[in-house]
């Protein structure tokens, strides 16, 4: 019977079915971060349990790391206990740590792909909901909680029910200044923030095939915002080329064997999906969120909706009130006080390059605080080699050390109440980027243009000199 890629990966990793009916799925790579791992280390020690496979486990300092130059454990005193507990727990359990001063430190979802820890057809777990990012390489990833993290540490498996299968087919060629972030936001508007619950999502179609790997990582990153734990793109030659030679990827003869296997990792012709979604991306405009959940999206030329679905009036009203918007008003022209370019969604080299193209030779508008935080120390180094830091700095942006930074504000990087912030991140929830901060999610080029213009603009008109 024709099989979906989800089923192929699932069956290959099925260790046993537990007495309670759950499938034990083997985790090939487990990546931890300091916001959640210290609790799990503590509980593991209390139960006198050991980490089963420290050699398949990696630790990252990302959520709480300061982004100031010359940072250390004490730059931000609230972060100190997290950083130290992570170091202590990783050392005690013989787990390789990418520490705050490691030249390859960064956001786990950025570092794991760039070092080749993530492989097509492999399973991956992170105690963070954006684990799904790495599905861009054809891996099946699970974001999990702290107790599940402890479970994976002790057993190297995760106990799950097999998700249902959803395919999102994307067709058409993306226009200028339109990228994976815009596609993902448009899918979110269509599927909603709970439409993916219980599913694993496979992204397919000509638009996806044409996307470079970094764009696929962005696309998969936003899967959890639809409520689906896992999302992925079947690997292809672009994936293999991108992975070849990365330090943790297989090498030599093992690479050849892996490659032959990876070429079989597609959903079979005629495989059945439980749900199908289609989107023509040919005429897609840049997208932006207007509200307080990531499905409240409009095209940049659009307006705040006039109405909402029956029964949703109260939450619609709360979103408008929080965002300081009126129904039917345009997004373009809203004054902006803050711009953040960063996060596991949009802080890879290609994101920074695209934003720098918009910024080059221009200056951030008065009254705007603009920050760029590379997704990893490797990204930062590569961007600096390309001179991108100089472009951003000359324009008046701050250029930070890598980490999660203002995406969730776990390191103290936050905005002020009432500020309107254009952010390349993944969640526009109330108070997430600081109490009272009004977050609009958008792509790196849209964010960059807003920083320069001091207001929300259509980046295409901005570059054409029409703003």
């Amino acid at each position: 019977m024709p099989q979906t890629l989800l089923d192929k990966i699932w069956d290959a990793h099925l260790v046993a079915r537990r007495a309670d009916g759950r499938d034990l799925i083997y985790i090939d790579r487990h990546v931890l971060h300091e916001l959640h791992a210290p609790h799990a280390f503590k509980k593991l020690a209390q139960a006198e349990r050991k980490v089963r496979r420290p050699d398949l486990t990696f630790s990252m300092q990302d959520h709480t790391v300061p982004t100031a130059a010359g940072r250390n454990d004490f730059t931000n005193q609230e972060s100190t206990p997290f950083l130290q507990a992570m170091r202590e727990g990783s050392t005690r359990n013989h787990i390789r740590l990418f520490d705050i001063d490691d030249s390859e430190q960064g956001i786990s979802h950025v570092v794991a792909p760039e070092l080749g820890m993530v492989l097509p057809g492999a399973t991956h777990a992170v105690p963070d909901s954006h684990a799904c990012t790495v599905g861009g390489l054809g891996a099946l990833a699970f974001g999990c909680g702290t107790t599940e993290l402890e479970h994976v540490l002790a057993t190297q498996v995760i106990a799950l029910k097999r998700p249902k299968r959803m395919r999102v087919r994307l067709h058409g060629r993306l226009g200028p200044q339109v990228a994976a972030k815009d596609v993902a936001l448009c899918i979110l508007a269509q599927v909603g923030i709970s439409g993916g619950r219980g599913y694993a999502i496979e992204y397919a179609g000509t638009t996806v095939r044409a996307m470079p790997i970094e764009e696929r990582l962005t696309l998969c990153n936003l899967t959890i915002e639809m409520g689906a734990r896992s999302g992925f793109v079947a690997p292809d030659e672009a994936t293999f080329t991108w992975l070849a030679g990365r330090p943790f990827a297989p090498q030599g003869r093992e690479w050849d064997a892996a490659l032959a296997h990876w070429r079989t990792l597609t959903s079979d012709e005629g495989a059945a999906f439980d749900a199908e979604v289609g989107l023509d991306c040919g005429d897609l405009e840049p997208q932006i969120t207007w509200g307080t959940d990531p499905s409240q999206v409009v095209a940049i030329s659009g307006r705040v909706p006039e109405h909402t679905a029956p029964g949703q009036e109260a939450s619609f009203g709360r979103a408008l009130d929080y965002m300081g918007l009126t129904p039917g008003s345009p997004l373009v022209g809203l004054t902006v006080q803050r711009v953040f370019i960063g996060s596991c969604t949009n802080a890879r080299v290609s994101d920074l390059e695209a934003a720098a193209q918009v910024v080059r030779g221009r200056h951030v508008a008065d009254g705007v605080a603009a920050l760029v935080v590379p997704g990893s120390s490797t990204v930062k180094r590569e961007a600096e080699a390309l001179g991108l830091d100089a472009v951003f700095r000359a324009a008046g942006f701050l250029w930070g050390e890598s980490g999660c930074s203002m995406c969730a504000g776990g390191n103290g990087d936050r905005g002020k109440a009432g500020e309107r912030c254009i952010s390349t991140t993944n969640r526009n929830f109330e108070n997430r980027q600081g109490r009272g901060v009004r977050t609009h999610l958008a792509s790196p080029v849209t964010a960059a243009a807003a920083a320069i213009a001091g207001q929300i603009v259509d980046v295409r008109q901005f570059l054409a000199g029409e703003v």
Binding site: V15, D20, T155, G227
Partner: protein, 208 residues
Amino acid sequence: MQPFTTLTGVAMPLLRDDINTDQITPINRTIDPDYAALLFANARRRQDGSLDPDFPLNQPRFAGAGILVTGRNFGCGSSREGAVWGMLAIGIRCIVARSFADIYRENCLQNGLLPIELGPADAAVFEARVLAADGGATFTVDLVKECISGPGGSDIAFSLPAADRLRLIEGLDDIGLTLKHAEDISAWEKRTLVATPWLQTARDARRP
């Protein structure tokens, strides 16, 4: 894990959809925070920082509530388990929702917190009864019989997948359950090391 059989307590209504974990438990900047104080720390306050008297958690009649009643897609967003620990910290051991986000529901099960999903008709009836009781009477959730009883009408049946129900009733240690399959895990590793060896090794090619 503390077993769950029955619970009798006040039911606190928070009848909104899509309440996310950033709202439930804002990101903790201390490693061992006061989870009770952190629960809805922003949502329970007005813009000027004062407590919002209209927010149920601030109302004395819901102090010590054991059951939270809420809408669709509860607990979406971040996977942070603090959003479950916060509930337990104030004594909530059961959440009745129209639906749950996947990771949040899993985190509930891992901590002995009973997540009950009711269909739209039952949910509407139960919500009305909870609003009518308004903290003045208790409801009883019986996981053995899978029903909710309380003022304002007859028992409301619910169902939980048998596996999840068993885990909660017995208070089973999830890791313990899995470790019964230690031999299966070892066998899988041995097979995989032969068939697809790159999955069983994560070596840094730059280090000898």
